[in-house]
């Protein structure tokens, strides 16, 4: 396993200490966990400096990062979706690539293609922007379905097949896609298969009044016209640190009852009267992964039902489809899912 290089964050965080791998005495593992949690907390604070007033969204993005999942961020323009991803890339020492999805974007623009080299007189593979650690798919629903489908393989299997050869993308690999819910003209809704590959779908809401006040104060102090500065953020972790964090999160103990609760939640969506289509098994998996990541983020040593319930909405909302009659009545998916969460009994021993 990896060490976190001390030079990247020689500050007050305890994460600066080396993280030793799992096969160690229990106390050692607990210590590791504590450091990992502190590192995650530091990252959280750092992102909070860039993106003001969206703490819940930052938590969810970090959850996805720790759980090794992909994130789809939805929100009206101007809430800082892209800013959040750029800030994350800034705090993260690995590679970062950005694809601006446009209607004329081709699949090969995402994955890469073979080009003929005149000097060597042979085809050479040119890797696309997808070969990176952190991929920002900006306004993903502006590209047609064939381009969106180019992401299917890499998101699930972490590999790209080019010219018949399967090429692995560097790990950790995380896709952060943004989309705008109100604009419908010239957009292509994501297909279900693509949606299912995103572990979380986050909704960005407007910030609270005092937070917005704070944000406006800070932004107007900046010399650049309308952008929040992300350059002063410190690089807190490297690619291997992320892998270590993911390993620690995956090793967090989870009780059978909590596991059962996650599965029951996912299964309840399939027979729920207000939902036309329920969530698949990927939802149960994502619920448990997300719960583990949240437990680590919280600084806990084990997973409690609150962790599952906390990420249930983000995990489930893009995997279910509302029954048409409720759609007509104007109910949102979130409302129906909240009702579901209100009704499924939480585990007690």
């Amino acid at each position: 396993m990896s060490d976190i290089s001390p030079d990247t964050h020689s500050d007050e965080t305890a994460a600066a200490e080396p993280l030793t791998p799992a096969p160690a005495p229990v106390s050692n593992a607990a210590q590791q966990r504590q450091r990992a949690s502190q590192l995650a907390q530091a990252l959280r604070v750092e992102l909070g400096k860039a993106l003001i007033g969206q703490q819940a969204v930052i938590d969810d993005v970090l959850t996805a990062l720790l759980a090794g999942g992909h994130v789809l961020i939805e929100g009206v323009p101007g809430l800082g979706k892209t800013l959040l991803v750029r800030a994350l890339a800034r705090c993260f020492g690995g590679e970062f690539a950005r694809i601006q999805f446009t209607p004329d974007l081709m699949p090969s623009d995402v994955t890469g293609h073979a080009v003929y080299d005149l000097q060597s007189e042979q085809f050479k593979l040119r890797k696309g922007p997808v070969f990176t650690n952190l991929l920002l798919a900006d306004e993903i629903n502006r590209a047609p379905a064939k381009t969106q489908a180019a992401l299917l393989e890499v998101m699930q299997e972490r590999q790209v097949t080019l010219e018949g050869r399967a090429l692995a993308v560097p790990l950790p690999f995380m896709v952060l896609a943004t989309q705008n819910p109100i604009e419908q003209e010239g957009t292509y809704p994501l297909p279900e298969a693509e949606l299912d590959r995103f572990m979380l779908k986050l909704r960005m809401e407007y910030p609270q009044q005092d937070e917005e006040l704070n944000m406006v104060r800070q932004v107007t102090r900046s010399p650049r016209a309308d952008m929040l500065e992300v350059s002063p953020l410190r690089t807190l972790l490297q690619a291997k640190d992320v892998a270590a964090l993911q390993k620690i999160a995956a090793d967090l103990p989870i009780d059978e009852q909590v596991l059962d609760y996650a599965v029951r939640l996912a299964r309840a969506t399939r027979s729920w009267p207000g939902l036309a289509i329920g969530a698949g098994p990927r939802a149960s998996i994502a619920l448990v992964r997300g719960a583990r990541a949240r437990a680590l983020l919280r600084g806990g040593d084990f997973v409690v039902p609150d962790d599952v319930k906390g990420c249930a909405l983000a995990v489930l909302r893009h995997r279910v489809r509302l029954a048409p009659e409720l759609d007509i009545e104007g109910l949102a998916v979130d409302q129906v899912l909240r009702q579901l969460l209100d009704q499924v009994p939480a585990p007690r021993l």
């Binding site: 009780d255 009267p273 084990f302 409690v304 039902p305 609150d306 009704q343 939480a346 585990p347 021993l349």
Partner: protein, 518 residues
């Protein structure tokens, strides 16, 4: 006025037919009527417009108010043309002052809003009565036709409106599209405050022009209604028939009269002869009684014939009756009064049986309704469960707190009396059970003592959030510590330190003294 000279066929008609006749009449003299109307009303309208240029609304109102005055001329033309040649336009205009004179003030004041205006006009204008006689005449004439005259006016109002709006929209549609594709109404309103008077006068003109067509029809219809009423009242049609008869028979009438006189002088001789013969033919005459077919027998056979179909139609009805009905019938006294009473009783009994039947049906129907409601509730139970539970206002006090929550037994009866002592005892052997007991007891107290609306879907964290709403620091702190230990034991499988027990039990005793009500 000579009825034989009338240019229309005079006969009693229904009122609607009479109105139809009016339309025909107006059509026959359409040119003259329209020209005379236009010649009279348009200059008046122009004058009004000039006088009231700044108040187009008032101009239109004045014109509308003067309508009865304009209606006199068409009526004059119609009445003249009914029994003679129609007057020329010049003659009509020359007659105008004479026509206007009678009752003009009344027409323009208290009779202006009368709904039977066109029907009353002939009485006022043509009959030349005055005072009491005129009022009586109006009452007599209006006895039956008022309804139709009113309808005529009501329809007329609608026709005027339709023509006005129709012509207005036609003008609007004729605007070139380039001129103004969609109106900016607000700007129009602003503009209306400015110099848009000519547009309103144009709109007034659009009202005045269709009247040239409609008003003659209206007057003519009223006139024919009036004629029809008089035909019925004064028997004009019969008079007409007699007149024709006289014309035809003037020559032969004397001969006929002579013949009639002769026949009358001969008639008185006949009756005695008839009386004599009647004695002989009478059915009781012995000659007839002695014949093989006597009149007696013939009467009987006639009666038998009359008694059988097709003169009589008899049928036998067989139906079931209840036994006591018949008993009562047999017991019934021949006396008519009592008989009548019995029948009444029978009738009441019959109603009672019918009532039982009705009661059964009512019960069946109610059962069906209840079953239907039950079926619907059952069919949509999941929906109701889901959405009704959201709609229901959150009840602050939970009377029937569940005994089994979260798989834990939280009924107060099931918990030991002294929780802290029991927990301390359990701690030595089964610390986990002791923690479970404490947490269970906490939930129970929250449910029953603090009436916290907890459901099985709440997680430990959500319970803590609800506890925080009480803003009781001691309870809050204790709940947090206990929940942390409990979660560690339940989900993390790690036991709390030994000294935690003493702290928790002390905290419990402090929060919930032993004597406190459950």
């Amino acid at each position: 006025m000579r009825l034989t000279d009338a240019s229309v066929a005079i006969r009693p008609r229904t009122a609607w037919e009479a109105l139809d006749l009016g339309v025909l009449l107006a059509r026959r003299h359409a040119g003259l009527l329209i020209a005379s109307w236009a010649l009279l009303s348009l200059p008046v309208f122009a004058l009004l417009c000039l006088l009231l240029w700044d108040h187009p609304g008032w101009a239109l109102f004045a014109f509308w108010w003067l309508k009865p005055a304009f209606e006199r001329l068409p009526l004059y033309i119609l009445s003249r043309s009914l029994f003679a040649e129609p007057p020329t336009l010049g003659q009509a205009m020359r007659a105008l002052p004479g026509v206007l004179r009678p009752q003009l003030l009344a027409s323009l004041t208290w009779r202006r809003l009368s709904l039977t205006r066109s029907f009353d006009l002939p009485v006022l204008q043509l009959e030349g009565l005055s005072g009491q006689a005129r009022a009586q005449r109006l009452v007599v004439l209006g006895q039956r036709e008022t309804r139709f005259a009113t309808w005529l006016t009501v329809v007329g109002v609608h026709v005027e409106m339709a023509l006005w709006l129709g012509l207005g929209s036609l003008f609007y549609m004729l605007l070139p599209a380039q001129l103004e594709l969609d109106w900016n109404w607000q700007r129009l309103l602003e503009a209306a405050e400015g110099d848009w008077l000519w547009l309103e006068h144009l709109s007034n003109l659009v009202y005045v022009l269709p009247l040239m067509l409609w008003e003659p029809v209206y007057v003519a219809c009223g006139f024919t209604l009036y004629l029809n009423r008089r035909t019925a009242l004064e028997a004009w049609d019969i008079e007409l028939v007699f007149r024709r008869l006289r014309q035809r028979l003037t020559g032969s009438a004397y001969a006929l009269l002579l013949g009639l006189g002769l026949s009358l002088t001969l008639l008185p001789m006949a009756p005695p002869a008839l009386a004599e013969s009647s004695e002989v033919i009478a059915p009781e005459a012995p000659r007839l009684l002695k014949q093989p077919l006597t009149s007696e027998a013939s009467r009987q056979s006639i009666e038998a014939l009359l008694d059988a179909p097709p003169f009589e139609h008899r049928e036998t009805l067989t139906r079931w009756r209840l036994g006591d009905d018949q008993e009562q019938a047999s017991e019934s006294d021949p006396e008519t009064a009592k008989n009548w009473l019995e029948r009444l009783l029978q009738l009441r009994d019959g109603w009672q049986h019918l009532g039982t039947l009705a009661l059964i049906f009512e019960a069946l129907l109610w059962a069906a309704v209840l079953a239907l409601i039950g079926l619907l509730l059952w069919r949509y139970r999941q929906w109701l469960h889901l959405f009704a539970s959201r709609l229901r206002p959150p009840s602050p006090v939970r009377r029937d707190a569940p005994t089994q929550l979260f798989g834990l037994d939280v009924a107060p009866e099931r918990l030991p009396d002294d929780i802290a002592a029991e927990a301390e005892r359990l701690w030595r052997e089964q610390p986990r059970a002791a923690l479970g007991l404490l947490y269970r007891a906490l939930l129970s107290r929250l449910l029953h003592q603090h009436h916290l609306p907890l459901t099985s879907a709440h997680t430990e964290g959500e319970v803590l959030e609800q506890v925080a709403q009480f803003k009781r620091d001691d309870l809050n702190a204790f709940s947090q510590i206990l929940t942390r230990h409990w979660q560690a034991a339940a989900y993390g499988n790690r036991l709390p330190p030994q000294n935690a027990c003493a702290d928790l039990c002390a905290g419990w005793r402090q929060l919930f003294p032993a004597g406190a009500a459950r």
